[in-house]
Symmetry: D3
Subunit: 247 residues, 6 copies
């Protein structure tokens, strides 16, 4: 079976990671997974939320959102409706947890990093692109803060790298990195967040149409592990380029 | 290692499923997993939300909430704050998806079932208890509707059973059905929703402290599969008792 | 005339007051007036709201809510609608005022007690059941705090007891403690809150269909006074049992 | 004992009822009870809310509000806070119920009257002034609608008149129509809504400091009955003047 | 062409400025431009919002609102809808900016003045009436504060006067101070805020039907300048009367 | 005086208009005025809001928003705060009015176009860039709809072109198209919206520090007229390029 865009089952879409996209943010990345484009900015500020003051530890959190016309039909703005939807909440929390998994909040000191992940164009896999891009923005913000001596010398708040990819079973075939057309036809849909050394941070599998068995789950995990390894390499390559000229 | 309450690693807490708890609801269950107590009511109404009208298909959805003092320290009411929190949204959506996985919405016809899962007392595993209890309440509501001829003769909207359990790694040991004290100490926390025939509906694993590897993931899935099988037996037993006198 | 459930006009429904219902709260009561069941928890915390700091006085407040399917047809959750309705506000304020009428806030010291009254099942008289149960939960929370030395030795914040009952005129006959079926048919509906020594804390009479005259008002007050005296005896009996094992 | 403003215990403050205050509303009254001034407008529209369509019956409802600086210290606007407070809700509901007590909704036909009661200046007794003024505005709106043939010939939606007054016990003395300075010092505070023929529509007594006994309650009801009779006469006199030139 | 009410093109409606309307506010004015009536209160409080503390400077802000039946058809209350509309926000901001243009916040010291402008009856030009009246209320509140020594001796926070008027092109003719009937027929609508010495604080012109050219713009500005000069004289006259007996 | 970036007083920043930026929207433009970047999408849908149904006329509206880190310090998301701020409301309304000034809603037929203007990076003049870009996106959406025969043959809903620019007085010198650093230092700030034939749609001038006189106003209007003419030429040039491949 060949996929809509000619990829093999275990192949990622073309992924680009454009650092230094915004002149204001301490770290900023425009990440694309095919036609999915997410602007990830990392805002570094001294100080922590009230409930964390005096702990000596920092805080990393994330907010995800979609522009109204990122999708095929226009969605209402959550600011206009006056409420954040369940899906937005869920993804914001997922991104925050995923990044905190590779942060040593003690080494960060009492500083806060907010990752804003705004989907400019959506074509499936927006949350996994967001995590993958946000990690790079976070790395740039941390580098910026170390340059400014806002993090104590010798301390490294990043204790690993993190990326994410979606996998799913479409017409009985496990596929990596689903586009929107594949996603809507998937029986099972899974988002997997991995560290650069291949361990799991989050595994979220959902039976969309038909419950899945252990063998299918294993096939999906295999695919995801491969995709995450590819993404980790792409993140490394992006970060090896000349440092982003930010802030 | 023995657990706080003397259970073995693969043992559930005492589980009770009390049907017909409420005189008003078409199905109602007070489910307890140890000290976790959740009141699950199923409200059956003719008709469907506007976006589904004319489709010939029904709708099943869920709302989860905690009483303010279900927990050790009192939490603010979401009605008073004027917003539903991300966690509540996330769990409500999980319960709804889990139950829809075993519902044939065409057989249900243009009817709606709302599952309200209100945590009266919390001691870990509230979302898994909610799913397990809500299934039984749903089964009673469907039986009620068939008795009232609100579902066409010969149609069976329930195409399987569903239950859920939490698993986690505490001090390096995979454990089934975590109590609150275990949950806060867990490195990895996973909620698994299974059908009665042993397939997966949802797998949500989160590294709370340390990323987990494939071997640990497999051990957790093994434990969860066993727990879900036990819960399916308890659900069957509860439903075999004399029909609840509801509504 | 005999009532639906065979009671006389001046008879309460069977009332039960189950202390220590929740393992977390400092005081907790599941109170039932017939099929009306309300879970009342008293949460005792040190400190007072900002506007009361430094006054040396404590604060007692209440929040009332109904589970969505406590009633015959499911109601929307106020948390989902994003606003508390007028009826909820009104009853929460009534419960708070009623309890403060028997509290010496100076003796309480700078501590706060929040009474949460959640209606699990409704069959008329939920606000009066809530007040009656909340008083017992409050008494347990105060006893707990005295045991913990959070209230100064020799001080007694409770300067009386309080309970409440509904009365109404149905088909021209004044009746005590209306069930839902009676309530909807009542011409006049009145809620009366009394102290244990027979004085009034609140009298709220409303003409639902027909204005009422002084004679009818007097008949209703007579009935209510009798019902409140019965409830005070039941509260005393409940509190005389072995102290609830809470918190 | 003489009162601050020299009144006797059973004397109302100077009451003025100025009809036709607004050029837009179908009925409008600026009512004052001493320094308390409330603008009451009655908006008559054809049609009823969705839940009442097809019933053949009309609807009368009320909304109460205070301008931010109606009081001695400025209060936040509820529109800015984004929520209506409990007190506002409670009073709006009271006004609506009080007026509906003298309306025959069948005779009104499928029309709606909204009474807006906005307190321009507050000095105690704003809810009772609002009810008293709103009745007159309602009467003018009904007369307007009859003139426009929006109400069927021969039908009279008003089946009585309604007014309200506050009473309270200050320093042990029952007083009629409390000013703000008296209100804050009252042990017991009661609002009484009466029809023009002297029956009760609402009786709301609250022990502010000390519970009250039956004798005190009787004294307050006597005072209120007298005050309501005086108000009914003032309403009649106002309505006997040349018809307000409205809308 | 003669106008509906017989005015010439460059003539204001009858303007009245009634000081000391409210007994509570430090400054209060009922201003009317023909049938447009706005109650403007100035609330003077010591202290400033948190973000301004320690700056030594004061703060002046405004809130505008309309009573529901100030207009020909009843509008929903923003407090009931739970949100302030865009128009309200826009006008509140305009009033605040206009008044701050004539305030020396250093001379005011760390004090706050809130101007509440509530439209009791609307007939076009409510925002310009509000600015014109609010200035007078502000002047009275400042005088009050100087009398109370809340502003340091020798300091004068008011560095000018401010008023506002609407202009528009109706059927090709530029007109001053539009009534509602004129406003809805205007091709271009402009609000102009001027200081007493004839300079501009705000110029907001909007093409309602047809874009306007430079010549038309000039004609409107000429008209507005004349109207503002007339209003400045009326403000001076009002303030020259015996000081309002406020607060 | 030379400006920060070497421009003359009457010179625009480099302006780019990139059509077809989004694959989903019927019209989409990434517009930049120097470092200010705004993504404008035009969503064309058949049908109109309820209040316009049956009128035969279409509707054009706009929503403006800023990404949280579009600015130098991160702002809270309005969706998280649960309310749209006054500034956002004001600008959304301005954009909508400006575009409607060049739309013949009868020719549009009962169709709706929503313009979403999301500021990705801000450096002054975001509202004027938004209007300028939104016009081009609207033109593409209208062309798309004509191609799809959603607009009747021979009808042209666009009756002109529209663009906008800011002007201000900085250190006494009138300047065109202010950058953020200039904007914060401006005494007077004005936004001018013009049609392509040089007439005015909106003129909004505000004295930030010092009121301005007629001569200064004239100088600003002269500058703005020149800038708008330049923008109209740039819009024409952008639209003359090969049609954007959208939707």
């Amino acid at each position: 079976m060949s996929r809509i865009d000619g990829r093999t089952a275990e192949q990622l879409r073309p992924v680009t990671i454009e650092r230094g996209w915004s002149k204001h943010a301490e770290g900023s990345v425009l990440v694309s997974f095919g036609d999915t484009k997410v602007l990830c900015t990392a805002s570094f500020t001294e100080g922590v939320p009230r409930w964390r003051k005096g702990s000596g530890e920092g805080w990393v959190t994330a907010e995800y959102s979609m522009l109204p016309r990122a999708t095929n039909t226009r969605g209402d703005r959550e600011s206009v409706r006056g409420r954040i939807g369940g899906r937005t909440h869920e993804i914001s929390r997922l991104i925050g947890r995923s990044l905190r998994a590779v942060v040593d909040t003690k080494a960060l000191g009492e500083n806060t990093v907010v990752l804003d992940c705004d989907v400019l164009q959506a074509d499936g896999g927006t949350r996994t692109a967001a995590i993958t891009g946000a990690y790079v923005a976070l790395a740039d913000a941390v580098a910026w803060a170390r340059g400014k001596k806002l993090i104590r010398a010798g301390r490294q708040p990043l204790i690993g790298t993190v990326g994410a990819v979606s996998v799913g079973i479409v017409d009985g075939v496990p596929l990596l990195d689903l586009r929107y057309e594949e996603d809507v036809r998937a029986d099972t849909d899974m988002n997997v967040v991995c560290t650069g050394d291949g361990r799991f941070v989050e595994v979220q599998g959902t039976a969309e149409a038909e419950p899945f068995d252990r063998k299918e789950l294993n096939a999906l995990l295999d695919l995801a592990a491969g995709g995450c390894a590819d993404l980790a390499a792409l993140q490394r390559a992006a970060l090896d380029e000349t440092t982003a000229a930010t802030a």
